[in-house]
Symmetry: C2
Subunit: 367 residues, 2 copies
């Protein structure tokens, strides 16, 4: 069995709550870490049909002394819905879980978001632990306490802000992640690079050019950097009333793209890739960003094996309409995260319909 190794440990502090992010390799079956985070004799593991055969046994073996129940959801964004949530509530109630139970989210962003939302609402809130097994979840959705399910009329429309008790990132779980999903996670990594700029952006660009894989030496460091950036935004603005919204760079486009294809065509990160390109293009069209940065974004996405163009089959009017449901909207104005340069992004609610329209048209094309 490969050796257990802790790579990094960070803390996230929000008002009234502090929790660790522990980044390690080969630690899922290490009894110390998980067991001590479960204070009562009850625990429920929420996972999906893809992840369960790979890692459920390891976690259950560590929790042998508890009443350890499980909910195995169908795999996929389209199951991030009320039915999956109801399945978790039903199991919690059927097995008489009390307010001191612990919910463990074992899987990608969908599992983490649903399990987190279930935790925030079951008996008005029970503790939960994130064990993200996709790159996307490890650097983004598992950190920061955003939980949600989708609604037929919009992504993440029902949810809460509810911080986990801990985030346990075992990088080795990425060894079983399909390559397409790994690449999808790189889109959020590129987002952090653009939000931060400087050395991190440079190191990331080099790593992407060289080719980044689950056993790359740089990976633990890059994941820790991403978590650190995310933690910093979350700490400053837990409920996204200000700067945290900058983490949505590219996401107004991405969410609309996903909704326009009923969450079936792209993985989230692939849509984010296109969204980042659109955000850069929008900033350029607005006259605040140099064209070389647009080219850099395109280049990074290319290195990562991600799309950047909006395919021609997308109905741009429908796309525009879907943006009107974006959660960043205030007083009926669309707000976009725009970029003056890497490391200098801000929220802009003065984008004209013309500028947006031009951006969308320019972004359309084959790869």
């Amino acid at each position: 069995m490969a050796k257990f190794e802790v790579c990094a440990k960070l803390d996230v502090s929000v008002p009234g709550h502090q929790y660790p992010i522990i980044i390690y390799r080969n630690g899922l079956a290490e009894s110390g870490i998980i067991r001590e985070l479960v204070p009562s004799g009850q625990v429920i593991i929420v996972t999906n049909q893809t992840v369960a055969p790979l890692y459920l046994d390891a976690i259950q073996s560590v929790l042998y002394s508890c009443q350890c129940d499980k909910v195995i959801l169908n795999d996929g964004e389209k199951y991030k819905n009320q039915d999956s949530l109801t399945a978790i509530y039903n199991e919690l109630l059927a097995k008489k879980h009390h307010r001191d139970t612990t919910i463990i989210a074992l899987g990608g962003g969908v599992v983490g978001d649903i399990a987190g939302f279930a935790a925030s609402t079951y008996q008005r809130g029970v503790p939960y632990i994130q064990i993200p097994t996709t790159l996307l979840a490890q650097i983004d959705s598992s950190v920061g306490g955003k939980t949600a399910i989708n609604h037929a009329l919009g992504k993440n429309m029902i949810g809460s802000f509810y911080q986990p008790k801990a985030v346990l990132i075992d990088i080795n779980t990425l060894s079983t992640l399909p390559e397409r999903e790994f690449r999808s996670g790189l889109a959020e990594m590129i987002k952090y690079g653009l939000l931060t700029g400087g050395d991190f952006l440079e190191q990331l660009t080099q790593a992407l050019q060289k080719g980044l894989d689950f056993d790359s030496d740089e990976l633990p460091y890059l994941i820790a950097q991403c978590c650190q950036v995310k933690a910093k935004f979350v700490e400053g603005d837990e409920r996204e009333t200000g700067d945290r919204a900058l983490l949505n760079l590219g996401h107004t486009f991405a969410h609309a793209l996903e909704a326009s294809t009923e969450f079936k065509y792209w993985l989230h990160g692939e849509a984010v890739g296109i969204g980042l390109y659109c955000a850069a293009l929008l900033s350029y069209n607005k006259g605040i960003l140099d064209i070389t940065v647009v080219q850099l974004v395109e280049q990074m996405l290319h290195y990562a094996g991600l799309p950047h163009k909006i395919p021609e089959f997308v109905d741009l009017q429908k796309l525009r309409d879907l943006m009107s449901l974006d959660k960043k909207i205030k007083n009926n104005c669309l707000r976009f995260v725009v970029m003056k340069k890497p490391g200098a992004c801000y929220l802009d609610d003065t984008i004209t319909e013309d500028c947006l329209h031009n951006t969308l048209i320019t972004a359309v094309g084959g790869e």
Copy 2:
């Protein structure tokens, strides 16, 4: 038109949030109060089929300058469910409500709890205002930020702690409340009396003996007292990790009674009345409460026209089993609020099955 008159104003302070409870008469159509609490141009009123014909117009007239949508739910505890919640989400999304919208809960506890839960989860949280129109909601559920829906396997099992932006209590709305519902509200008033003891208990007993109605002079004072007691408990323990649980005096019994009859037989306050009597009897059986207090509880419930005995048709074993789902349970032990004397209650997790069984048997009977 009857004169607008502010009777009392209290403040509730929890970490990071403070909000007013305003108690008045004839103020629903007063434009100043509600309009200034709605900062954006969007608002949605959640109410039910009983309350809508009575008070919806008045509120809407005050909000004529807003996009003012409405959801009219069926009236009754059995509609405090996922379907009603979904109806609110659907309307919010269909009418493109943004994160700066305001939800107004106009009605009793069911409307307040569902609308509050919708507010806490729509786009991860939007502001809401409580306008309670039943005595029960005015003195209990509208204050303190507990939101919830029921699940087939238990009452209030899905919910959140989420404070309103304001609670507006127009005592005049009680003029249209059926007498049975008014009496039901008195059960929670008796609970506050027992939790507080002293002068308030004495004044309440006298008022009940004299006969308390919606236009009694004592009513605004008694309502303000109840809100004050509740606010004090909430301020000390917003998320019910300690003393706030004392507000559940009688409620472990009441919830199980309601669940055992599928929420169809009693109004909530009627079940609470029996629950208070059971809690007193349990405390007496445990040897910590004088029999005269048990008799006082019975007497107060009698003055208020409320039941105190468990009817013979109730299956006591089923009742006992339903108590195992109580939210106060910790480490699998049932916890009851017991009473040493009025004003001196505490949580007890050492109640034996025998003591509980004897209490239930003794509490059974005709009125």
